[in-house]
């Protein structure tokens, strides 16, 4: 293991376009569900059987070229807080955070490629990058997939494709998704019909934290529903195309907003900034929603006193896990709200000098 959880929390995650300017596009992700031949699915296998597989796969994955330099973490060794942080960074699912001995995570130090072992399937490969990057992620994860197959025989059927614990993942086992920030469509009250239309063309819409979560911070994750029938390239192409169309809709909505309801937009952005820079209690949801207002203000050129980098960093640092790691202790929700507000006030009222931000271009 090369990275610690503290190392992670000191820097932005791979899912946030920190400092880059891709407008409504936040990040892209692809995950592949894979199982090992002649090994039971994790939900069927007992802890010992899972643990045997983890102890066999972990050293193999650590050596896979695409994952260099690799860090491996056993779920059984992690505190609840550490798991929460991995979840907030989109490195593990909520379900995986509930796992213990027998389940694990191996990830490349830049967090852009990772493998969950014994989540719902034996292996869940993930590629994740800020911005609209489905094609390059597909190239990377396809290579990773082949490299893992070199050392492990996958459960594969010539007719059904990759076999998976849940039939909805059969076939390619692929889910390609793009996270979009769509405050313009929300403010114009146009988001619901658009999102309902997604289902008709085979796409699912989820909130920031995956299935069953609401669109906090005006973040919407769209992904393919079908994994069987289409090729991986077709899936990538479909999701990318629809995501690009949503980006156009969003930018169009923002223009119409400024034309027709300029005062409302300025009010929304102004209040978001005013509350964030002066509140002393902030829940996680309110912080996300208000940070969405700042992001919109920066995208539209209305808010000039705050950098996109600051806003993106706060999106992650205000999450409960990251917040508690920074404070180095467990905090009650009320204390978290106070500490979160203080963190945000400091960041917005005392922006760090630009030369200290050196990880990506502003």
């Amino acid at each position: 293991m090369t990275m610690t959880i503290s190392d992670l929390t000191a820097r932005p995650g791979a899912w946030l376009a920190v400092g880059t300017d891709e407008g409504p596009v936040v990040s892209s992700r692809i995950r592949l569900a894979r199982n090992v031949r002649d090994v039971a699915f994790p939900g069927w296998a007992g802890v010992e059987e899972c643990d045997r597989l983890w102890r066999r796969l972990c050293p193999a994955l650590e050596q896979v070229p695409s994952l260099q330099v690799a860090t491996s973490l056993s779920m059984g060794d992690l505190s609840e807080l550490d798991k929460e942080i991995l979840f907030e960074r989109h490195l593990i699912s909520r379900e995986h955070a509930g796992k213990g001995k027998g389940s694990g995570l191996v990830f490349r130090d830049d967090e852009r490629l990772s493998v969950m072992v014994n989540e719902e399937d034996c292996l869940r490969l993930q590629g994740m990058q800020p911005g609209m990057k489905l094609r390059s992620i597909w190239a990377e994860i396809n290579t990773l997939d082949s490299e893992i197959e070199n050392c492990t025989e996958y459960a594969f059927s010539p007719t059904l494709g990759y076999l998976t614990a849940c039939p909805t993942n059969l076939g390619t086992g692929m889910r390609a998704s793009v996270m979009l920030h769509l405050p313009g469509l929300v403010l114009m009250n146009e988001i619901n019909p658009i999102m309902k239309g997604m289902a008709k063309i085979g796409l699912a819409v989820r909130g920031l934290w995956g299935e069953g979560t609401e669109a906090t911070g005006n973040m919407f994750q769209i992904s393919n529903q079908m994994t069987l029938g289409d090729s991986e390239e077709q899936i990538v192409k479909l999701v990318e195309q629809i995501a690009m169309e949503l980006v156009v809709h969003e930018q169009n909505a923002r223009e119409r907003l400024m034309d027709r309801r300029g005062a409302l937009v300025r009010d929304h952005i102004g209040r978001s900034f005013g509350i964030l820079s002066n509140a002393h209690l902030l829940t996680s949801k309110e912080a996300m929603d208000l940070l969405s207002g700042l992001r919109l203000g920066i995208d539209m050129g209305i808010l000039k006193s705050v950098s996109r980098r600051t806003v993106d960093a706060l999106l992650l640092l205000t999450q409960p896990g990251h917040l508690q790691k920074k404070e180095e202790k467990a905090l009650k929700p009320k204390d978290r709200d106070r500490y979160r507000a203080s963190l945000v006030r400091d960041a917005l009222n005392n922006p760090p000098p630009k030369r200290r931000n050196r990880t990506t271009a502003e």
Copy 2:
């Protein structure tokens, strides 16, 4: 006539303790209801009869020593906007603002003494001062009352006292009131039982704009309900005593708030400042409520970047009438909200240099 409506709007009103520090006490008022012997009450008299009385009383009132230098305004000559401004300055009632020819107002240039002619009664004398000043107002208005009686015979009964259009004003015809700013009791959820208790000791509670209005901006006006039976001095003493008790309750509530819910108080004050200094749309009610937060923050020593003078001035200048007078045109409610927000942002982000504020000590 010596003062114009524009002259008035360029300066603070008599009901606001602009720049003075009386904590929860905003202002004190006394009004006396009087009628003229052998003249019909205004609600019974026709317009011509009212006008005859107004034309008889107006020059007489203009000469009354206590009202020097006096300005007189006939309701029939005023625009709706002018009447709205007089109402916002508490110089006339909502009912009087609905009157036209035959009704009028005579006031001393400092607005602290005034007389409405042909409101509900032939004469309504009013004394009004910032701070807890019931006793000195009583002395002033008592003199004014005698001076007017020297030139006009009042309708008076040896058994019932001063006769009034509404029996609830019989006797002394006096209503003494104190306007209090009670955000601490509101935040502690203690205001309702206290206000309910007022009725039991013969006091009425109203909002900022009198009967039937809610307590916008956490402003509560308490006044005597009975006018018959007690002497004027007893009424003044009762209202003053209860107002002082409420001030103690309020200060006690503020201390407990800081002890037990300090973060909540700071959050309330911070958000009030954050929204006011960044919003682009503000309704009159929201502005009042948020300005209440600033007033509390200044009283408690938490908010240092804004002066009490600025907040008190904004309380008046953000009212619809004053706002439109400043803009010199009628504004639709939506435009008022935008203009109001702009006025408040400017005042809070660019405080005027202190040397320009010369009317009272800071």
